[in-house]
Symmetry: C2
Subunit: 364 residues, 2 copies
């Protein structure tokens, strides 16, 4: 079989220790299934700042381009909190998104049966929850120009950012949402603030037109972003796929994740456009942060990182069977009562990062 | 006593019928306490579009300027959904905010003891919740230029909006938040996306500086907007006062409201700057919408509108005793078991708009 080139970027905080548990799964895949990966590993975020003085080097971007998929840990390190806007560890992920054209962030918010009580929402509101948020990630206010802080003649200052969306940018991310919906419950809710923002008005029009032209079989609704924030709390199960811009997606996907009560369980994928050789750039990462407070203590939950790897197998290598095997193994380990501290509940057995990783391999 | 000039703008949907219940309270104030208001009433939103062809007339803005306070119902009418961006009913409220300089929107999210079970969150997570969100309302991406939709040479389109904040805009709304905190639990959390947006970076710096100069006695923390959306779900009681920009405030205040499970109960105030004559422009409105689906059916909950009137008495006329009397009457009516359909729960007595309004007057 052809080589599968992976770039592994553990990053900061708990990133390296949870990534080691993925290595354990890969070792099992090699042993038991004869599947091997061609792996490059490198530094990003605070870890890269410490060694190279920048949050991400051009070499790493090039490695990411050369790879079939990137498995990312997490970035963010309090040591670099005052490093200045141009040296934020976050630049690592922003640059990877932009340089590789990773425009569609897939953020599943799924409640595991074994963990339905972990939510702060009533179990009857969230049980069985399964939402997919598709967030645009290379446009909008994150990257628009002009941007910056200027000093006015009177000495006061002015901060500016620009939200920009074009027809093709909206269409390509909406396509990802419609395509996903067809494999799910066939419903897309498009979210913007068209009652206040022209960029939102264009968003709504473009999604509506595309739907009429190519996806009339999918149910399409529209919702204002403030109402969506409310509806996610009031009745989250009303949603199947949500598609929205970069900034609204940032807030709404985090909000949706928190409804599950178990951030340590949630993976994500960020996909680019298929190129002339049929290759699609893709990055996979857990949705939780670098959790500097528990880094190095062996307590971090490795399951979101492991499930991100399962997503990678599914979306980048079409290894549906292996992906499903890993997901089932994770569900079984939870059902057996093992819990890292972040998802601990009475009557369960608390374990650390390594024991959890080993348990998943044993299930496999 | 001097005359108290009120402009009443019932607006669309349930606006007029819930405003009638406030009139009932005013009649009682006149009878029982000898307090009279000099009242002007006018049309806004869809109601104004239908008669005048615009969502708000210049005369209404002038009336609002002349008044000591504006009591607003709600705007939004499906009949005008396709009226076009320049004739949205929402323009009524946006213009009032901008023309009167109503820059600080005060959005309490409070759980009434009698209604703690109404939330989709577990009662132990929200019981006693009492957050005040201070949202900037005349700046940010709502009003920044350039804005609009342009057609590019290749026929595709481009939607643009601009987020702008200046030092004085940030300072004046932060002052409102710090001043409020001093009368509450003395804690302010300032929310932005300084890791991605320069306007957020400036926001954070200006709030930090102002705090050091004038409000060092108040506890100040900072939080990213995506994390704030999460934390409001995870543990909302960690917050006292939250201060944030226009767009984040729109989502986060609606999210916070929904945590209470009873939107029909929540008032809001939007305040401007004190002028040379000591007058401060102010608008009070329930946070719920125009609810066209139940409009005219006599089922709407009038309590948020009544509590908005209580806020008006407190903030615009310093009538603390009367405001507290109305708030206590509302709490007592709930304790007695009366419920409009939106807050109905087993064992309670369901009543309509008028019976609820009458019950509040009886309590008074
Ligand atoms: C790391 C940061 C730039 C980022 C964002 O705001 O997009 C994060 O919150 C995310 O959602 O991946
Ligand atoms: C009516 C509309 C313009 C408005 C907004 O987005 O500000 C509404 O959602 C609000 O919060 O008052």
């Amino acid at each position: 079989s052809e080589t599968k080139k992976l770039l592994i970027l553990p990053g900061d905080g708990i990133g390296p220790e949870i990534m080691r548990e993925v290595a354990r799964i890969m070792a099992w895949m090699s042993r038991a299934r004869g599947i091997n990966f061609d792996i490059t590993e490198d530094l990003v975020g605070g870890a890269s700042l410490a060694v190279h003085g920048v949050p991400i080097r051009q070499e790493v971007i090039d490695e990411a381009r050369a790879a079939d998929a990137v498995l990312f840990g997490s970035v963010g390190d309090p040591k670099w909190a005052s490093a200045g806007f141009d040296r934020r560890p976050e630049i690592a992920i922003l640059k990877l998104r932009q340089e590789l054209g990773l425009f569609a962030n897939l953020r599943p918010a799924k409640v595991f049966d074994a963990l339905a009580d972990a939510s702060t929402l009533k179990p009857e509101v969230v049980r069985g929850l399964d939402i997919m948020i598709v967030r645009e990630t290379v446009g909008g206010i994150y990257f628009g120009n002009p941007r910056g802080i200027e000093t006015l003649p009177d000495g006061s200052r002015r901060g500016i950012n620009t939200e920009v969306y074009t027809t093709p940018e909206i269409e390509r991310v909406a396509r990802v949402a419609f395509d996903l919906a067809r494999k799910r419950d066939n419903r897309v809710c498009s979210v913007e603030k068209c009652n206040v923002m022209e960029s939102g008005l264009l968003w709504k029009e473009v999604v509506t037109d595309l739907h009429a032209r190519e996806y009339a079989d999918v149910e399409l609704t529209h919702m204002l972003a403030d109402n969506c924030a409310m509806q996610l709390v009031r009745n989250p199960r009303q949603f199947d796929v949500i598609v929205t811009g970069n900034l609204f997606g940032d807030l709404l996907s985090d909000l949706a994740s928190m409804l599950t009560g178990s951030l340590g369980m949630l993976p994500s994928a960020t996909l680019g456009a298929v190129d002339a050789n049929g290759k699609r750039p893709a990055l996979y990462e857990p949705i939780h942060g670098s959790a500097p407070d528990i880094a190095g203590k062996g307590q971090a939950n490795p399951l979101a990182q492991i499930l991100s790897f399962a997503m990678l197998l599914r979306y980048s290598f079409n290894m549906l069977e292996d992906a499903a095997m890993i997901e089932t193994a994770v569900a079984n380990v939870l059902a057996s009562g093992l819990r890292t501290p972040d998802i601990m509940s009475p009557g369960m057995a608390v374990v650390g990062t390594e024991v959890m990783g080993e348990a998943v391999v044993r299930e496999l």
